[in-house]
């Protein structure tokens, strides 16, 4: 069943358009992650679903009902804020009970709901404390608890882990994943700029950029089969390498020539019209290997080596503002700066993008 449905939704402040043509259906029980760089409109979109921002175009439906002009409290949503937004003068218990108290629920009902949420989130020892006596992770759990108590149709998370330190972020991320598993029927929409959070939590990721949806899909699909250059470079770290090429021959397989010489046959179909056109050949740093054979993709001098233990990251053709070409090899490698290396990749791991940025696989 569709839980949240956005149809041609748009948002503008005066003449400035921040979101346009947003079409998205979120099924019940899904955890959908909005991800994108700063200023892409992901938080604005979430706040529009919450009712904290007005919708200037299109339709928002929750459980089939039109919600465009319904006040936030009546949309059946609960929101967890980046800054927790706990009421500092109320105890943890009062914070979680606030919504039910306003709704004039009975005392027994409130206590039962709060105790249940506290149990799920292991907050029982802290119920009588003020938020200031809690750690960041505990505060965020209280904020999540406050959302659970409302028993909403849709949970909205606005960068909930951004204010936590690195170690806590991992722990809380796992907690949220477990929480989702324990509530398989609840729908969640989660905003983050951290692609690790997006990859690990999402059942589907929505990649946003400049007010547009770039691609929607399960995390690994976005990784393996990005729709365009933006998604290809946004998902995955370090970003996908792009080489400027020209199409030589079309068909079920495409033959391209690199600007610096050499031909490669890529097992991706192309159309006759592509012949002679410039394209971008995409290859992920982690798909590259070092080879001694003559069947290689590139031969380059190493500019920099980052030995991380688990992986070794090699930088080639590095320039100011441009990390250049990057290879990420598993394990430890004794490679020194200045070494000339031949890099190879399995051809099925390559990507081709046309001049419009769209992947050949998505045409």
């Amino acid at each position: 069943m569709t839980s949240v449905s956005l149809k041609d939704v748009a948002k503008s402040y005066g003449r400035v358009e921040v979101l346009r043509n947003i079409d998205l259906d979120v099924e019940q029980g899904e955890l959908v992650v909005f991800v994108g760089p700063s200023g892409c409109g992901k938080s604005t979109l979430l706040r529009m679903i919450a009712g904290l921002e007005t919708i200037t175009g299109g339709e928002l439906r929750i459980d089939g009902e039109l919600m465009n002009n319904v006040p936030p409290a009546q949309r059946g949503i609960a929101m967890v804020f980046q800054t927790y937004a706990l009421y500092p003068h109320m105890t943890v218990r009062d914070n979680m009970a606030f919504g039910m108290k306003i709704a004039k629920k009975s005392k027994a009902e409130i206590t039962a709901a709060v105790d249940k949420a506290a149990k799920i989130l292991q907050l029982e020892p802290y119920l009588d404390r003020l938020p200031k006596a809690l750690s960041g992770g505990q505060r965020q759990r209280v904020a999540i608890g406050r959302a659970i108590v409302r028993n909403p149709k849709v949970f909205l998370f606005d960068e909930p882990l951004s204010n936590l330190d690195a170690a806590l972020r991992v722990a809380t991320r796992i907690e949220i994943a477990q929480l989702k598993d324990s509530m398989p029927d609840s729908t969640m929409i989660y905003v983050t700029h951290d692609q690790v959070e997006a990859m690990t939590l999402a059942s589907r990721i929505v990649v946003l950029s400049g007010g547009n949806i770039e691609q929607v899909g399960p995390p690994l699909e976005l990784y393996e089969n990005p729709r365009n250059v933006f998604v290809a470079q946004f998902i995955g770290s370090p970003a996908m390498n792009m080489l400027d090429c020209k199409v030589l021959a079309c068909g079920a397989q495409t033959r391209v020539s690199r600007e610096d010489g050499g031909d490669i046959v890529v097992p991706i179909a192309s159309q006759a019209a592509d012949e002679g056109k410039p394209v971008k050949l995409g290859v992920r740093p982690e798909d590259l290997t070092i080879t001694d054979s003559d069947d290689y993709l590139l031969e380059l001098n190493v500019d920099m080596v980052e030995a991380l233990g688990e992986t070794t990251v090699l930088y080639f053709d590095t320039a100011l503002d441009d990390p250049g070409f990057i290879a990420k090899l598993p394990g430890i490698h004794a490679i020194r700066k200045g070494t000339c290396l031949r890099l190879a990749t399995p051809p099925e791991k390559l990507h081709l993008f046309g001049t419009d940025g769209i992947s050949f696989r998505h045409r």
Partner: protein, 294 residues
Amino acid sequence: MKALKLKRDWIIGWLLLLPAMVFLFAFTHIPAITSLVSSFYSTPRGRRPAKFLGLDNYQRMFDDPVFWKVLGNNLWFALGTIPLSIALAIVMALWVNDKLPGRGFARMAFFTPTVLPLIAVANIWLFFYTPGFGLFDQLLGLFGLPATNWLGSPETALNSVIVVTVWKEAGFFMIFYLAALQAIPKTLIEAAQIEGANRWTIFWRITFPLLMPTTLFVSINAVINCFRLVDHIFILTDGGPDNASALLLFYIFETAFRFWESGYAATLTVALLVMLCLLAIGQFFFFDRKVHYK
């Protein structure tokens, strides 16, 4: 060597403190102690030096009907000005904190009474209060009501001063509330909106409790201001008629510098100081349990 350096630091430290200490002692501590001492002595006149009277001055104070009268006035004045000016300050602050056209102008307008010199303003108010053709009487005259001698009759004199004081104080307190309101994170209000709280609930359950530190600060200041106030009275009523609008500090001034009874004036000053101390301490302890500091 080390001891020498320590001693030099110590001397420099005291030298740095000295200017502030000189002023503090010259204008606060020494006068306070001298007042306390003088309160036990008679007023020296001509060649007759002050005589030790013990508690005679205090006895006189307790028997002095004017003292009780001005104390009562002061109490009524406090009750009339403090809650009203604080409530007005909060309302004005909430109003100009919202997005509204001409917000900057409204803020400025509310703060103007604080900036204007009281002597100038009091003259405008004197005109407002003028019997017969002042602003108030002209407005009331439209409804056929008789002229009132606002500042000249015992029933209305003090209340008229209260109105001027509230007008003057509310804008000043508003600035503190405005600053405090802007320090409340917007997400708290949004979280409450999502939970179904209306504006009224949000104010009473979230905004107002979070403004409590400001309310404590403002109310202590308001109480002190109540007892410090003399300038309005000089210009508007001169304490009259029949001490109907005289406050404690005004009475002290009259006693000391009009009747030249500095001994008795010192006694009244000590009484004022003791009351102020008790009030401030009391307020602090009373509120402290209720105030949430972030």
